[in-house]
Symmetry: C2
Amino acid sequence: MNLTEKTLKRNTVYEGRILRLNVDEVQLPDGAKSEREYIKHSGGAAVLLVKDGKVLLVRQYRYAYGKVLYEIPAGKLNAGEDAAVAAARELEEETGYRAELSHALDIFPTPGYTNEVIRIYFADKFEYKGSNPDDGEFLECEFIELEKVLQMIECGLICDAKTVAAVYKYCLGRK
Amino acid sequence: MNLTEKTLKRNTVYEGRILRLNVDEVQLPDGAKSEREYIKHSGGAAVLLVKDGKVLLVRQYRYAYGKVLYEIPAGKLNAGEDAAVAAARELEEETGYRAELSHALDIFPTPGYTNEVIRIYFADKFEYKGSNPDDGEFLECEFIELEKVLQMIECGLICDAKTVAAVYKYCLGRK
């Protein structure tokens, strides 16, 4: 079966600082017309850094959830920026660590309504240089034992998708 | 450090079929004002069903990425619907399997701009009843060997976050 949907008309309904919302008219595989609402996003990059068996996490208030979340260091790509460069930049800005990175995996966070790709890297070699968060970015760094991180995922204290995917992949690779 | 951001003014800029976009005025921890753009979403539910060592996946065109993705069966919660009920409903609609579910984990797909929670379940007992997709939903089901699914994640053929998280958790639990 041909599953492809054809774009009939592109329509941007909001253009903001971090995202653009499109509501396109599309033609479905059976010829019927419909609409697709989705976010156009520049992409994200994230880094799993494990030091002496401890995972480097950042605690950050996430307005959409109304609470502080634990996540691996991450950020949004600047226009045209390479994901590996963005990952290294965000890691250093948020945590003060400069690292050599290797690509671990990419995730599509929620394909029903965003085109974001989050590229996840492992930090292979790293050293502390001192942090320098962006203006308006308030966060705290914390090293947490890997076993404890797995328990926090298990009991729902860590839910961030990129963090779960990165930590799980790391654990599967070790075994 | 207090990381909390305070809502000064709520502002809905778009209300669509599957999502609502808010752009709120907020006060940052240092007192400065800023804006937060985020999607209000009713939540998602997904099911990992493994039968004779094979994972049940659906192939579906995802307009935001412009391609067909492999994902575990999933869908959006109806207003006020329990996530486990939604998961069982979506599983049966999309694949024809009726199942008893146990909760595996929740993920927050991309906390910077959505409040969606995706609740992921494992199918414990199941039987085939015949599928009945929603109007306008075009998809194909496929059972794929777990080892092959892991390879597809490894080489980037499967990137969907809920699928990666569910499969990895399942594999870690087995070991």
